[in-house]
Amino acid sequence: MSMFRRILFLAPLAIAAMQSSFAASPGVTAVLSNSQPAVGQMVQLEIKVNGANSANVPETISIDGLEIHQTGTSRQFEMRNFDVSSSVTYNYTILPLKAGQFKIPPQTVRVGNDSLRTPELVLNVAQGSGNPGSSAGSAQSGQSTVGSKIAFAELVVAKKDAYVGEMVPAEIRLGFDPRARGRLQDGPELSGQGFTTQKLQQPRENLETIGGRTYQVYTFKTAIAAARPGKFEIGPVTAKAVVVLPRRPSAPRTTRPRSPFDLFNLDDPFSDPFFSDPFGSTGERTELPIQSETAALNVKPLPPNTPPNFSGAIGNFTMTADAKPKTVQVGDPITVTSTITGRGNFDRMNGPALEDERGWHKYPPSSKFKQDDDVGMSGEKTFEMVIAPNEKKPAVPPLVFAYFDPVKENYVTLRSTAVPIQVEGGAGPTAATAPAVAATSAAPTSTVGVTPAPTAKPQDILYQLIDLGRVRSFTPIYARPVFWIAQLASFILLLGFVGWKIRQAKIDNLEAQRTAALQQESGELLRKLRRGELSPQEYFSNASRVVRVKTALVKNLNPNAVDAETAAKAFDLGEHERAQLRTLFDRSDELRFSGSGNGAKTISSEEREEVLRLLESLRA
């Protein structure tokens, strides 16, 4: 018997043995996903039967105050060292309807001929906030459940009463059923008039169970500040999202198999099998407008007894101040740094002012803000003010900063202590004393600010001028016609310059062409003369032409106007060469005018050599 046949024979036996082995010891367990839920918070119950492929379990479990439904079954097979085990898990969903302690009694599970019982389970249900709008504290909200249970928008304003300019924290919450795969397209936008809103920050995203349903909630934080007193309706919050909804099949609803989500609400759009098997069917992308309810805000005006240095800061703040350098000359700049820390409307805050500005030249402060929260309500704002003493001063005067505290409902003036400094040069000090503390923290004082009375004698202005002077214009020079006329004149000058240069170039070019032609002619003639094939008439004519051309090149003359004397002078020849040149020109003229028949028909080589030497000696 072959090995293969042996395996075929033994395999069914082994399978039978395995089946008998895990059928022999079935067991059951029951587990709750959460034993202390709140009312409306869903809990999963798992009944797991080990050592069996299937079992009979109750479809519903009836307990007063709990709604329990079976939602599904799953099976597992496991093989370890040829030891195969299987289990089946039955899932139930429990929805607590009221608070209290509930006992889930043992349930009977039938596995084949065996009857198993689950252990008793205890569920402690707490009284919880089931609804999304029920925020804690004094917050109020406007909520909407637009789109049935697919999405909601909610506006949570932290206070019902506020002062003009006070920053009130607010939250915008947008929730989507995760199955709808909601994606924000527009917004959210907070509409309404008479208040300003801080820029919305990136949302925080989390899963929340609200009213027994799980939502993907996006929370945007902001702060609002009313511009005038009165009763305001904040909102509504509007947003537009794209969600995926199942396509409605034409078959009647009752024929559709129940999905796990369809247990408590048969109108649930997600009861569609699409959501049970997203890849088995197609969804429909739908644009869904979302809108919240409005929230009311009662805005009160600020009290009338405004301190002199109050610039609109509302909140709760502390102040520190310092000045550097501590030793300066009169007129030298000192940087006074003050830091306002706390919570409030930093965006409308002006820097602290000097309590006594007399004898100081000051420049407007610059500021930078470091926020500690998402909306810029909490943090520290640092002001840097440059001041310069006009005279000797013992200290930088105290800084004063006034704000309105909406909790205490009164104005608070912070006053730093003076920073002692040493001012060298200039006149003596005119201002008052200074405490001996350098960097100090300010403490709140009375609600009424103090404007110091002038203590220094005002400086007097300089004399009148008796000369009226020359009339001038406020108009910038480039906006005056004369400026542009000057530019036009320069442009015309440029055109003239360019034209002149071009003309010069052209002239230079003609001269160069002429020179090149003459040089070429001279070279050609000399080559002919050296070859010695010419008649005497041609020879002397060419030789005299070479002299003329060379002279013309040197003296920039017309070659035809050159005679023997001109040529001799141009090349500064001696008497002998001069005589030779004259002879050359005479011979040339003679041969030209008398005809070629007179005299010898050829030229002797000595004569030729002599003429060539003469021609080659003609150099400038």
């Binding site: 300019g165 030249h361 108009t475 170039a505």
Partner: protein, 247 residues
């Protein structure tokens, strides 16, 4: 005969010109006398009349500023000194009195930006003039170099230098024209003028401006102007509470 007519016309023209020139000087002297006599209101009227007639001289605005200062109208005094300095940026008396007036009024000043501080050694007109001259020198140098068929390094070096100066001068002139002392510069003439967030008397305050404070007008809407304030914020102020420095 013809020569006589020409001479007569020239003489007549010179006479008229001298009379016309003498008239503002006389009024200026009269205003100065009124100032010396302590009649600051009459002096202001006379100086203002000269301003209205278009005699925009730095000394006139300086004297007018002094007269306003004596009347404790620090806003207009500072405005006049600023006008004197707009016409002559190096007017020492106006500079000195402006400082005193600002101290008296506790006026706020706009902060010059970094570029304005860098280019502070000349004014907008001087930079514009420098830009124009360097531009033409540069262009002529380029033309010389091009038409000289690229011969010589002198013209090209000069053109690079000149055109670099041109670019810097244009940048400086532009920065100064839109900076603190640019065209939008205005001075608050009323005292404790409230700059607000919106064009309404009950809108929230941005800053309280003492008389003589500098602002930079960005736009105008009806009876309100939108301006950059000394604390680098923007706000609306009534248009009749501030005057532009450049007339």
């Amino acid at each position: 005969m013809k020569t006589r007519i020409v001479i007569s016309c020239a003489g007549l023209w010179l006479l008229c010109a001298s009379i016309l020139a003498a008239e503002p000087s006389a009024q200026f002297a009269k205003a100065n006398q009124e100032y010396a006599a302590g009649d600051f209101k009459a002096a202001i009227d006379d100086y203002e009349e000269l301003v209205r007639s278009g005699r925009d001289t730095p000394n006139l605005f300086y004297n007018l500023g002094n007269a306003y200062f004596r009347k404790n109208d620090f806003g207009r005094a500072i405005l006049s000194y600023e006008r004197a300095l707009a016409l002559d940026p190096h007017h020492p008396e106006a500079e000195a009195n402006l400082r005193i007036a600002r101290d008296e009024a506790r006026a706020l000043e706009l902060v010059p930006n970094r570029w304005e501080r860098i280019f502070a050694f000349a004014d907008e007109n001087q930079y514009a003039l420098a830009a124009s001259i360097s531009f033409w020198i540069g262009i002529f140098s380029v033309a010389t170099w091009v038409l000289g068929r690229g011969r010589g390094r002198g013209p090209i070096a000069l053109s690079i230098l000149s055109l670099s100066i041109f670019v810097i001068a244009v940048g400086a002139s532009y920065e100064l024209s839109r900076g603190k002392n640019g065209r939008g510069l205005a001075v608050v003439t009323g005292d404790k003028v409230e700059a607000r967030l919106a064009t309404a008397d009950n809108a929230n305050r941005v800053l309280t401006l003492p008389a003589g404070s500098e602002i930079k007008i960005v736009s105008q809407r009806g009876d309100w102007v939108y301006a950059l304030l000394p604390n680098n914020l923007h706000g609306w102020i009534p248009s009749n509470s501030a005057e532009q420095v450049r007339l």
